[in-house]
Structures are given as structure tokens and as C-alpha cells.
């Protein structure tokens, strides 16, 4: 790939967006940066792991939020010192980071291996079972979740000021976005897409299909774990209720709002979700029409419903369609098809859930 190939319009747009986000802390209010945007990055990162598995592997996973939580609990147990709840191992924070990511990745491999022969709806159900079991594990084994959760978890000194956490979220998000997309063009990613399209075919080409699925799940679990660490640093605490089935579903909803087959959609969906939950209450007269805080989930539900009806590809699908309509027809014709040796296809993929 030459430098010239990198100068596509979407790459430039992405770079411009990153620049804006880099200077955002000096443009926007601290609340917007440290609350809205940091949370967007964290949830977007977690949702991107759902997109990764769905888009390339045809696997819709409900276990990503559990892995997100495992990393948080493990960090809390390892890093906190005596006197706090949990195991109080009192390790150095970065040792705790390594430990948390290792446990999360190992858990992802085991769960992925167990689910590696299921696809479609069965995979979804199985990962939902994981989420429920995971919740009860942490809710009932209070030694590792502290009665009522782990509180006052300190983040590493390096990430002390909130704006550093914002930058960490931005950095990890960019890394995940670029990384996940790049993986799609590697041998591993192409084989994963092959497994999505036709596992029987891939086996006859020599691939170990279940292992491939398990490894994809492991990779996604690792990334979800990184998001989970950011989350526990941002929150300063974690309790079993925060990984219950409700939040688990919200992560899937975020992915669906954004568009489950596009990585941009993960962060876009997270942004929309956080915006609604943060600013809906400030809209004038909103409480007069009966939308109080307790009704926010209803609003989210209606939005999801509308998006599903308008565009199964989510907000990114809507954006893509608008762009196509606005662009002069001459340019939509023969698209220039230069690209890397193994270019990503331009066709939009549906979920691939119904494929075998």
C-alpha cells in the first residue's frame, strides 16, 4: 500500500475527526469531555468487539459486557489494598492491569471454545447464558465482588487527571478501530469471514473452524477487557449489577443503533446513547410529556425500533444511504477500484446470522 492509497476521502475524514478529538479538551466543557466523550469511547470500544464478531464472524455475542466486567473486577481485586472489599491483593496497578487482561483473555478463550460449534441464534443464546452465569458468579461469590461491589478503585497515577483517561479512551478506540479493520484483511480475518460465509467450505480448505471461532472470540475478549479497565477507572467502582442482563442488552442496543456491521457504528451508537441519557432531561418541557428519567429506556427502545425499521444497518447505514443520495449521480457510477492487494469488498454485508 503506498502513501497515496492512504489518501482516500474516508481516511482524511477519519484523520480530521481524530485531530478534532485531540483538541476537544480545550474546546468543550470538562463535563462534555470527561463525562460524555470518555464514556462514549469506553462503550464504543466494548460495542466494537460485538461488531468485530458479528461482521467478520457472523457471531452475535452477548458475553462482551461480561468480559468487560471480568476485567474490571480482576483489576479491582488485584490492585486494591487491605481494608477495601474483595481480595485486596494490593498489587502494583500495572501488574493488576496485566493480570486483569490475562484473566479476561483466558476466560474469553474458554467461553469461545465452548461456543465454537454454535452459530446464529444458538450462539446468541449461549452467550446470553454466559452473561447470566457471569452475573451470578460475581453476585454470589462475594469474596471477589465484595459485598455490594468493589468501591474506590484507584486508577494508575499515569491516568490520574480525568482528561488523561479521555485520551486513553481516544487512543484505545483509535487503536481498536484501525486494528479491527486491518485484521479483516489479514489471513486470520479473511479466514474468519470465510468461516462466517461457509464453515463447511472452510473446513474442506484445511481450516480448523471451531478453533478459528474461539480465537476470534478471544481477540474480541481481550479488547473488551481493555474497555472494561477504562470503565472501572472511569467509574472508580464496579458491582455485579453493572454486568447484569440489562447493561448487557444495552451494549447490543448500542451496536444496533450504530449499525452492527460497521465499526464506526459502535462509537456512533455509544455517542447517541450517552447523549440521550445525559441530555434528554435537559430538553425543555420534556417532563411535561411524561418523559421522566424512568422513561429513558422507553425512548431508547423507540429509537431502536425506528432505526431497525428505517435501516437494519443502523445509523451508519442511514448515513451511507443519505450520502449516496446527495452525491451527484456521475460519481456514484464506476467507483475507482484501486486498492491494496486484497481489498475489502465494497458491498454491504448483512449480518450473516442466517447463514450456516
Amino acid at each position: 500500500m503506498t502513501a497515496r492509497d492512504l489518501l482516500t476521502r474516508s481516511n482524511l475524514l477519519g484523520a480530521a475527526l481524530v485531530v478534532v478529538l485531540l483538541v476537544l479538551p480545550s474546546l468543550a466543557t470538562a463535563y462534555f469531555v470527561n463525562f460524555v466523550m470518555t464514556q462514549t469511547f469506553i462503550l464504543g470500544l466494548a460495542a466494537a468487539t460485538i461488531v468485530f464478531l458479528a461482521k467478520y464472524g457472523g457471531m452475535i455475542s452477548l458475553a462482551q459486557f461480561l468480559l468487560f466486567g471480568v476485567a474490571g473486577f480482576m483489576f479491582g481485586n488485584a490492585a486494591q489494598e487491605t481494608g477495601a472489599r474483595g481480595l485486596n491483593l494490593g498489587w502494583h496497578p500495572w501488574a493488576a492491569v496485566v493480570f486483569a487482561l490475562a484473566v479476561t483473555t483466558a476466560a474469553a478463550f474458554v467461553l469461545g471454545a465452548l461456543a465454537s460449534r454454535s452459530t446464529g441464534l444458538y450462539f446468541l443464546m449461549l452467550t446470553m447464558v454466559y452473561a447470566v452465569i457471569g452475573y451470578y458468579v460475581f453476585a454470589q461469590i462475594v469474596e471477589i465482588s465484595g459485598p455490594g461491589g468493589l468501591t474506590s478503585i484507584q486508577r494508575p497515577d499515569l491516568l490520574g487527571p480525568p482528561v488523561r483517561l479521555y485520551y486513553a479512551g481516544l487512543g484505545l478506540s483509535v487503536l481498536a478501530y484501525v486494528g479491527f479493520r486491518a485484521v479483516g484483511r489479514t489471513a486470520f480475518g479473511l479466514a474468519l469471514q470465510g468461516v462466517r460465509d461457509d464453515p463447511v467450505r472452510m473446513a474442506s480448505l484445511g481450516f480448523n473452524v471451531p478453533l478459528h471461532r474461539a480465537l476470534a472470540f478471544t481477540l474480541a475478549g481481550f479488547a473488551a477487557g481493555a474497555g472494561g479497565l477504562l470503565n472501572v477507572w472511569w467509574n472508580g467502582q464496579i458491582d455485579p449489577a453493572s454486568i447484569a442482563i440489562g447493561p448487557t442488552l444495552i451494549l447490543l442496543i448500542i451496536a444496533v443503533i450504530g449499525g452492527i456491521s460497521s465499526f464506526e457504528g459502535a462509537w456512533l451508537g455509544a455517542f447517541v446513547y450517552v447523549l440521550i441519557f445525559t441530555y434528554l432531561r435537559d430538553l425543555p418541557l420534556i417532563d411535561r410529556v411524561g418523559i421522566t428519567e424512568a422513561r429513558f429506556n422507553t425512548v431508547i427502545g423507540v429509537i431502536v425500533l425506528v432505526i431497525m425499521m428505517l435501516s437494519p444497518e443502523g445509523l451508519t447505514g442511514i448515513a451511507r444511504r443519505l450520502r449516496r443520495r446527495l452525491r451527484p449521480p456521475a460519481r456514484t457510477g464506476p467507483a475507482p477500484s484501486t486498492g491494496p492487494p486484497l481489498p475489502v469488498r465494497t458491498t454491504e454485508k448483512e449480518l450473516g446470522v442466517t447463514r450456516r
Partner: protein, 271 residues
């Protein structure tokens, strides 16, 4: 069914007139029986295929051709019997071991990977064989395999569709891609499941031309519904019906066999 262990020499040989002579067969199917529920799809089938042989398996729909094929390719595990490929007992080895033994197959319904491009499909056939399954970064090896894939695409007349998604190809082009994915790995044994089905006359001509251009050493097992294509490619023909072998012989012998006419009368007039 009489599954008599592993007696390497003297294969029981098909009852047909021209069983393979000479060295040990490349593929040997012994007393294979497959049952789907109550249905016996294959009943005690024996088949030995010599190196470089061009063998066609004919028969009406439901004769068990594809099942036999799937047993050899490892997609179906038989209830009894054994499959030996190049001296390796393969009956309980999943299909993913076949490429290492130099076996490639195509599917009756084109099963190209719909969401990937032609180049990526062929690339995966190469990557699958060479064990390049899990790297998370691209290297020069990937680029070379991409170029190799382009060469193969050229051989199966898909040079113009290199970057088209396989799912958007026409039916004929998908069959070409199937063939491309099979020949990309330079197999010693190629299993072609109804390669001509659904092709136009012109496409059939090209297919036959391609199959005839293969190396003499390549062993070709062809399942065909279309007798025309089968007779042009094959030097030996096995005819099956209702999960059993009916007859076997040279194309001329089989063409003249009244039994074959009877079997085919209901479904297709003899050529």
C-alpha cells in the same frame, strides 16, 4: 457390512470389467455404508482409484453419488467401512485434513465464500493448504499468495472479476471460482461434484477444455449428472443407483449397457 480390517494388498476391486491395475490406489473406498436416518444412502460400496485416473461416477438423482463424494472428502462419516487416501486411513479424520493429503474438492452447489472477493476466495484456498491460518498481520507472503490467486483466476477466466464479491458472480462464474479454488492448491486428487450443472453450452465447452488441460498425474474423480461431460472427461465410469454400484467400465461399455439406459430412462434420455 463386511469391514475386514486393513488388508493393504489386493483391493477387493470393483466388480466391473476394468478395475485399476498396478500400484496401490490413491483413493480406496472399502465397504462403505452410509445411513441418513432410516435411509441407506450408500450400501457396501467399494471403489479404488489409481493415480492419474479419470473416473466419473454417474447416476440419477438420489443415487448416492454426492454422498460417496462427501465420504471421500470427509464431510460425511460413514456408518461402516473405510476410506484410505494415499495409504492414510481417513474415515475419522475431518475434512480439514484432506488438503494436506493433496485432495481438493468442489461442491455441487457453488459454495464460494459469498462475502469475499474472487481473489480472497482463492487466497484462502492457498492459505488453508499452507497453514497460513492465523497471522494477525499481512506480510510479503500474503502479497505473493494474492498474486498467485490472480494467476489462478486468470486460468479459470475470472481475471476481470478479481475484486468482485463471489456472491455477486453469475452461476457459471461461481463454478469457475470453485474450480479455481480447487486447482490453486495443485492437488494430486481432485473431486469435482457436478461441475457442469447449470452451465450453458459454451461454459460446458470451456469446462471440458479446462479439465482436459490438467496434468496427466492428477487423479480426477467426477460426479456427474450430465453424461455428455462425463463421457468426454472420464476413461472409466461407475454407474450408481439407490446407493449401490450398478455397473462400471469404459465410457463405451457403459454407454452400451442396457441397465444404464433403464436407469436413466426416467430422468434423462441417454446421450
Amino acid at each position: 457390512m463386511a469391514h475386514t480390517g486393513t488388508a493393504p494388498s489386493a483391493p477387493s476391486g470393483p466388480p466391473g470389467p476394468s478395475g485399476p491395475a498396478g500400484p496401490a490406489p490413491v483413493v480406496e473406498v472399502r465397504a462403505v455404508t452410509v445411513a441418513f436416518g432410516g435411509l441407506l444412502a450408500l450400501r457396501d460400496i467399494d471403489l479404488a482409484i489409481a493415480r492419474g485416473e479419470r473416473l466419473a461416477v454417474l447416476g440419477p438423482n438420489g443415487a448416492g453419488k454426492t454422498t460417496l463424494f462427501n465420504v471421500i472428502a470427509g464431510d460425511v462419516t460413514p456408518a461402516a467401512g473405510s476410506v484410505v487416501i494415499k495409504g492414510v486411513e481417513c474415515v475419522h479424520r475431518p475434512s480439514r485434513y484432506r488438503p494436506r493429503l493433496g485432495v481438493a474438492r468442489t461442491y455441487q452447489k457453488a459454495r464460494a465464500l459469498a462475502g469475499l472477493t474472487v481473489r480472497e476466495n482463492i487466497y484462502l484456498a492457498l492459505a488453508g493448504l499452507r497453514g497460513r491460518h492465523r497471522p494477525l498481520w499481512r506480510t510479503a507472503a500474503d502479497r505473493r499468495m494474492g498474486e498467485e490467486a490472480a494467476d489462478v483466476a486468470h486460468r479459470v477466466w475470472l481475471a476481470g472479476q478479481l475484486d468482485a464479491a463471489a456472491g455477486e458472480l453469475s452461476h457459471g462464474q461461481q463454478r469457475q471460482l470453485e474450480l479455481g479454488m480447487a486447482i490453486a492448491t495443485r492437488p494430486d486428487v481432485m473431486l469435482l461434484d457436478e461441475p457442469a450443472s447449470g452451465l450453458s453450452r459454451g461454459e460446458r465447452e470451456r469446462l471440458v477444455e479446462l479439465l482436459e488441460s490438467f496434468d496427466e498425474e492428477l487423479t480426477l474423480l467426477l460426479v456427474e449428472h450430465d453424461m455428455d461431460v462425463a463421457f468426454r472427461i472420464a476413461r472409466r465410469v461407475v454407474v450408481m443407483a439407490d446407493g449401490e454400484q450398478v455397473t462400471a467400465g469404459t465410457p463405451e461399455q457403459v454407454r452400451a449397457d442396457p441397465q444404464v439406459h433403464r436407469i436413466y430412462l426416467g430422468t434423462e434420455a441417454p446421450a
